[in-house]
Subunit: 118 residues, 2 copies
DNA sequence: CAAGTTGTTCTAGTTCAGCTAGAACAATAG
DNA sequence: CTATTGTTCTAGCTGAACTAGAACAACTTG
């Protein structure tokens, strides 16, 4: 699983890490039970602080996507290996629609966050 | 057009205002040329600073959704009256998919922001 | 058991976006 | 001309994000 980070982005670093993991899961690039690099390792390779990586891991655990325990490290949660075909299709469709209408990503995420299903 | 704001939300206030306008446009609740309340008015009614509202208006203008000029105020841009049927459908589908998979809004917006079309 | 690994918790300091506040100013409407 | 409305500028405040270092608890491994 490739995890990269853009320090110049407005998106918080811990969020970028969390998203990188989510993407890997959605793409099926990681299987349930698979182990992530330790926080200290990943922090070193990304040139970040350990706490930032741990923040990301904590976030993912709260979402039920990771199992995190001391001594063991972080592993992809059982039950994370769902069928994400429809989700990916929905994402692609929405992105295409956004592009067609000339909407920014900010606008799209805003709509997604506040819009209620009708 | 109803514009409300949640001061306790993690979403920036100017962003909430911008999103409220976007939603109104997407829902077809406002027509092109329609005038928004003046920044000072809206700021008063929302109990916010004028600059915060102006920040939202500026953002929307940069997206091409608003025409903003001093003395005149802000009006919905010509060309904003597009067909948003497909967009709304795409939004609903994605939200439904996210719910089905138990994904948080944060996770969804993260995927939307970083995911590249394949 | 002993040692090393890894997450947890705590304190502490820095930076920056967002928000507020006030004022002067320019463009537009009436 | 006068009122309205956005633009620009300065200034200060706050909280989230990030960094840093340390002590500690749970787990793995030899």
């Amino acid at each position: 699983m490739l995890i990269t980070v853009d320090p110049t982005s407005a998106v918080p670093l811990f969020d970028q890490i969390a998203t990188a993991v989510r993407i890997a899961v959605v793409r099926g690039e990681v299987a349930a039970g698979e182990r992530l690099p330790s926080a200290r390792e990943l922090a070193d390779s990304l040139d970040l602080n350990v706490h930032t990586v741990l923040h990301a891991y904590r976030t993912l655990r709260e979402e039920g996507l990771l199992e995190v325990r001391r001594g063991r490290g972080a592993t992809i949660a059982t039950g994370a290996g769902r069928d994400y075909q429809d989700l990916r299709a929905a994402l692609d469709t929405l992105l295409a629609e956004g592009d067609r209408l000339g909407l920014t990503r900010q606008a799209l995420t805003g709509l997604l966050t506040h819009e209620e299903t009708r």
